[in-house]
């Protein structure tokens, strides 16, 4: 008995020493003081600030959206790494490897479902996060550049989704990527070269798949890690998030701060766990789609772009490609990039919709867009045919420049009118324009997803 006892205590001492070397501090901090030190000494937690302004903990400031995006990205890394063990990135094997994954690998279908649905939710959540940042004025100094970093992240999330779309190599994937990259041809000058670069040739094929796979599994994750670290670091350097306040309230110089642990951390973990639970249930109930194997000789009817490009696809139905695919998206991108650098009359950071007037104007813009956009779509679908009315005029003018100018004049008119009517600041006026574009874009997207049927004809979804 005796020697055995000594031996076991020797082993446990050894374990204790090893454990101590990995976790030199108590695992569960007991006092306030210990908690603060704990945060600094833990590898993962020391990226977080020791304290955060108390008011920024309010859920209705962030809706937990940024944290949800980060959680989803971590989940994508995890499930993606697993998928890589089974997936084969060559056209003759890709589709079969997905079938093997679903039918023969334990939990293969579940892992694929999680990866698929998370990717789609991520687009939505990052978009909502961008909206909350915009509408709380969090892009004003000192957070201007973080808005740009955020746009970079959004670009990466879209790239990840789009490149991932091709990987199953089914009919849906093949043709959605064909039409989406077909768009590049309309960029003047470099379009054809750019298209060949993206496709690795003139058609979608083995080269395309290996390029997309490289972007999807190496470039994007790498970029996300770099930009996310930068994003969080800038948030921290700005002294935390914008502090929510009522329209008349002044910005407080020295807000009350509370320790991150437990206040912020517990909230983040709870949000992440609830989200995870939701995703798991969702992935158990709904399978990720998989159609028949890609067949370059047969385009399905209808062939649609992925839903997040649906708004652009819908524009394509109404404008000449040079405008719908090139001019308008480029202008929108430039507008988003310039947004934080406009010379604003006031700094509205922390105030939802800037002011009471801002709220009212945003509502007017939302209603205008909700009426004007469907009216425009329907009129163009059934009544207007500019190309036929202007025989002899090239379609880039009759179907491009002319409707573009008409809409531009309409938007400028709306801007001038509403700015004068409400004698608004430029903060309010620009926010109003933003809402106008936002709601129009959402309506275009919804139309493209649910109101386009066989032959891309207009249909009712029910």
């Amino acid at each position: 008995m005796k020697p055995q006892k000594r031996q076991s205590s020797g082993i446990s001492k050894c374990f204790h020493r090893i454990f101590q070397s990995i976790f030199p501090d108590p695992l569960i901090p007991k006092s306030e003081q210990e908690r603060k030190r704990y945060l600094l000494k833990n590898l993962i937690l020391h990226f977080r600030p020791a304290t955060v302004p108390e008011k920024t903990l309010k859920f209705s400031l962030t809706w937990g959206l940024g944290g949800m995006a980060a959680s989803l990205i971590i989940l994508q890394f995890g499930t993606g790494l697993l998928l890589k063990f089974v997936y084969k990135p060559i056209p003759v094997a890709a589709y079969t490897s997905i079938q093997v994954l679903q039918n023969e690998v334990m939990f293969g279908q579940l892992i694929r479902n999680i990866h698929h649905w998370c990717a789609n939710f991520l687009v939505l959540i990052v978009f909502l996060h961008m909206l909350r940042v915009f509408f709380t004025g969090a892009f004003h100094p000192p957070r201007q550049f973080n808005w740009i970093v955020g746009l970079g992240l959004f670009g990466l999330v879209l790239t990840a989704n789009f490149t991932g779309y091709l990987l199953p190599y089914d009919q849906l994937a093949y043709w959605a990527v064909t039409v989406s990259t077909g768009v590049l041809e309309y960029i003047p000058g470099i379009g054809v070269l750019l298209q060949e670069m993206v496709r690795g040739g003139s058609d979608i094929g083995p080269a395309t798949l290996s390029i997309f796979f490289a972007i999807h599994t190496a470039m994007v994750p790498f970029g996300l890690i770099i930009l996310m670290s930068f994003h969080f670091w800038r948030t921290r350097k700005a002294g935390g998030l914008v502090i929510p306040r009522a329209p008349q309230e002044e910005i407080k110089e020295k807000p009350i701060r509370v320790p991150t642990l437990p206040n912020l951390l517990v909230r983040e973990i709870v949000t992440a766990i609830v989200l995870l639970a939701f995703i798991l249930v969702f992935a158990m109930v709904f399978n990720a789609p998989l159609e028949s194997k890609a067949n370059p000789g047969l385009s399905p009817n209808p062939t649609k772009a992925p839903w997040y490009f649906s708004g652009i696809q819908e524009m394509l139905m109404h404008f000449h490609p040079f405008f719908s695919l090139f001019i308008i998206p480029i202008l929108m991108m430039i507008a988003l990039l310039c947004l934080p650098y406009i010379d604003y009359e006031s700094n509205t950071s922390g105030v939802w919709f800037g002011s009471f007037k801002g709220r009212k104007m945003a509502l007017v813009a939302a209603i205008t867009a909700t009426i004007a956009t469907p009216a425009g779509i329907l009129a163009d679908e059934y009544m207007i045919d500019l190309a036929a009315w202007m025989q002899g005029v090239p379609p880039s003018i009759s179907n491009g420049l002319i409707p573009f100018m008409i809409i531009l004049v309409g938007i400028i008119g709306f801007y001038v009118l509403i700015k004068r009517k409400y004698s608004a600041t430029n903060n309010e006026a620009i926010q109003t324009l933003f809402v106008l574009f936002l709601v129009s874009f959402i309506i275009l997207t919804v139309t493209g997803v649910w109101f386009r049927g066989i032959g891309m004809k207009f249909v009712l979804p029910f």
Binding site: W175, T178, V179, T181, G182, V183, L193, E196, M197, G200, G201, S202, P296, G297, L298, S299, P300, N301, P302, T303, L316, M317, H320, P321, A387, P395, G455, M456, K457
Partner: protein
């Protein structure tokens, strides 16, 4: 104080130093440009090296008589359609819609190509009958040797509209056109 010392240095020394500073910055830019161009060249689309003959992959479609007037035959391997017009001429049409690149089926009942993706339509000559397609279907060079139709699928010819010069006719006038 190092800064003060620097100010006291004679002017030739400072100007030499600033020259070297500029040189370093310049060299830095050159090195950067080199990296960028290496990456750019790496990613540029490659020229296809596989060339079986001077003409590229030639596909033999068959003897002239095999194709009735006013008909369209699909060639899956070559990814094209061989159209025989009413006047006996041949056209090899790419099966790729000029709008965004979907594959177009030939609808023999309606005598047109109808794109399933955004409903463009083309006639037997590849001419656009209904938009959004902006231009006529691409064509391949067709030539006839010993009464055999051959199509050079190596090079796609882009065109905006149909012109009679694009059609290839069988050489012998007494060919069984009445077929």
């Amino acid at each position: 104080m190092p800064e003060k010392q620097e100010n006291l240095q004679n002017s030739t020394n400072t100007s030499r130093r600033s020259f070297f500073n500029k040189l370093w910055i310049f060299l830095g830019f050159v090195a950067f440009a080199e990296f960028i161009s290496v990456v750019g060249a790496f990613l540029l689309p490659r020229k296809r090296r596989i060339k079986t003959s001077n003409f590229g992959p030639i596909i033999e479609a068959g003897p002239v008589e095999k194709f009735p007037l006013d008909s369209v035959t699909a060639f899956i391997r070559g990814k094209f359609y061989l159209s025989r017009l009413e006047d006996g001429g041949f056209l090899a049409l790419s099966r790729k819609c000029t709008h965004l690149g979907c594959t177009i089926p030939w609808i023999s009942k309606e005598k047109n190509f109808a794109c399933p993706c955004h409903s463009s339509a083309f006639d037997i000559r590849g001419e656009v009958i209904s938009p959004p397609a902006p231009r006529a279907l691409d064509i391949y060079h067709v030539f006839i040797e010993n009464n055999i139709i051959k199509v050079d699928t190596g090079k796609k010819i882009k065109r905006t509209e149909f012109r009679s010069g694009q059609v290839t006719y069988p050489k012998k006038k007494n060919d069984r056109i009445t077929g």
